[in-house]
C-alpha cells in the first residue's frame, strides 16, 4: 500500500515542526485528506501507527486526528460546479485506482457533467494536509 509513504510524509513533517518549535513532546497531529485520494480512514490510521512504531520517543503519546475533506470541481469552460461523490459511482475499478494513486488523473477519467469538458479545477478535497501540530515545550 502506498498510504505508508504518505503517512511517513506526515510524521516526517511533524518531526521537522517539533524540531523547529523545540517541542519535547508531540501530543496531537490533525491531518486532512482530500476525498479525491480515495484513501480509507482505517488504512491510513494503520499506516500512521506503523510509521509511529519507529518514531522517536517524543511521539509516544501522540493522537492523530483524520478528517476527510469532500472533493469538489468547477468547470473552467462553463462554470458548473459538482461533487466527486456525485460522479464516483460512474468510475470503473481501474479508473478509481488511478485516481487513488495520482488524483490528477481525474482529468483523464472525469468530464464536466454539463459541457463534457475535461478542463475543470479541483476546488477542494485534493491532497493531504497537515492542519495542525500540538505539543509541549
Amino acid at each position: 500500500m502506498h498510504e505508508w509513504a504518505l503517512a511517513d510524509a506526515v510524521i516526517t513533517t511533524a518531526k521537522k515542526v517539533a524540531k523547529e518549535e523545540n517541542l519535547i513532546k508531540v501530543t496531537e497531529i490533525v491531518v486532512k485528506i482530500g476525498e479525491l485520494q480515495t484513501i480509507s480512514r482505517e488504512i491510513f490510521e494503520t499506516a500512521l501507527q506503523q510509521v509511529l512504531k519507529d518514531a522517536p520517543d517524543l511521539f509516544n503519546e501522540v493522537t492523530c486526528k483524520l478528517e476527510i475533506e469532500p472533493a469538489g470541481f468547477k468547470c473552467m469552460n462553463c462554470g458548473h460546479e459538482w461533487l466527486f461523490s456525485d460522479v464516483k459511482k460512474n468510475l470503473d475499478d481501474d479508473e478509481t485506482e488511478s485516481i487513488h494513486f495520482i488524483p490528477e488523473t481525474a482529468h483523464v477519467f472525469l468530464k464536466c457533467p454539463t459541457c463534457k469538458s475535461p478542463d475543470f479545477e479541483i476546488v477542494k478535497g485534493r491532497g493531504i494536509w497537515v492542519d495542525s501540530i500540538e505539543g509541549e515545550k
Binding site: 502506498h2 511517513d8 516526517t12 483523464v108 493531504i128
Partner: protein, 241 residues
C-alpha cells in the same frame, strides 16, 4: 502544510545523480536522449531509473516499447517497474496512455505525489525526461530536488538555439548545475551549439535514419548512432563529474 514536500529528499537519498534532460523547445530530442541514455547506462551495468515528467506529451514509453500498462506494485509506496533493466515511472501506467489534460497546479501536484510515494532503489542515475519550456515542471524540480543537474538538448537551428540559450541563461541565474549541452540531429554543414554554448558544449548526435525503425525495439535502439554517441558521452560525463 503539504507533508509531501518534506519527504522528497528522503525518497531520493539512495540515488547518485539526478539528471534532467531539458531544453526550451519541443521536438528537439529530449525524450530520445533521455530514453537512450537510460538504455545505454543500464546496458553498461549501471543502476538507472527513468522518470517521465512530460505528463501531457509522454513519449519515453513509445521509444522504449512499453505496450501493456499496469499499476506499479506497492510496498510502503510504489515500486518502479523494471523495463529493459531500467526502474521506470511513467504516468501512462496510471492513465493507460489516454490523453492527460493538466493545468499548472495539477502538474505540480502530480509531480509531488509521484516524488513522495515512489520508492526508488539504490540508483547510480535517475534520468528525468522533461516537457518543453521553462514551466511548472522545470520550476518544481528545481524547487524540490536540490541535487538536480541539467543536461540540455539543442538542435542545429537558429530558432532552437535562441530559445534554448534563454533557458540555459535562466538556469545559470538560478545557480542550477548544468552538466552540458548536446547538439542533436546535426548534419555536416550546420553547427551552432559550439559557438552558443562554448563552456558547456558536450558534442553532437547525428541525425540517424535508422532510429525511426528502431523505436520500440531495445536491441535496435542500442545499435543506433544515437546510442553509440551517448555511450561516449557517459564516459565524458563520468570524467567530468
Amino acid at each position: 502544510m503539504d507533508p509531501r514536500i518534506n519527504v522528497v529528499e528522503k525518497r531520493l537519498e539512495k540515488i547518485g545523480k539526478v539528471i534532467a534532460i531539458a531544453g526550451g523547445k519541443g521536438g528537439i530530442g529530449k525524450s530520445t536522449v533521455a530514453s537512450l541514455l537510460a538504455l545505454v547506462l543500464a546496458d553498461s551495468n549501471q543502476k538507472v531509473g527513468l522518470l517521465d515528467l512530460d505528463f501531457t506529451g509522454a513519449s519515453t514509453h513509445t521509444i522504449l516499447g512499453l505496450e501493456d500498462f499496469h499499476f506499479p506494485d506497492e510496498d510502503e509506496g510504489i515500486i518502479p517497474p523494471k523495463l529493459h533493466g531500467i526502474s521506470y515511472i511513467t504516468i501512462t501506467n496510471f492513465t493507460q496512455d489516454h490523453a492527460t489534460p493538466l493545468r499548472g497546479q495539477d502538474i505540480t501536484n502530480a509531480i509531488l505525489e509521484l516524488l513522495a510515494i515512489t520508492r526508488w532503489d539504490e540508483l547510480d542515475y535517475l534520468i528525468i525526461d522533461m516537457p518543453p519550456g521553462i514551466n511548472d515542471t522545470t520550476l518544481d524540480i528545481i524547487r524540490l530536488i536540490k541535487k538536480i543537474e541539467f543536461c540540455i538538448v539543442t538542435t542545429p537551428s537558429k530558432i532552437t538555439t535562441k530559445v534554448v540559450k534563454k533557458s540555459v541563461e535562466l538556469l545559470q541565474e538560478l545557480n542550477v548545475s548544468i552538466l552540458g549541452v548536446i547538439e542533436n540531429m546535426t548534419y555536416p554543414t550546420i553547427h551552432y551549439a559550439k559557438e552558443a554554448f562554448p563552456k558547456s558544449y558536450l558534442g553532437t548526435i547525428p541525425f540517424d535514419e535508422t532510429y525511426e525503425n528502431a523505436i520500440g525495439d531495445k536491441e535496435k535502439l542500442l545499435e543506433t548512432s544515437i546510442a553509440n554517441t551517448l555511450r561516449n558521452f557517459t564516459v565524458i560525463c563520468d570524467k567530468m563529474c
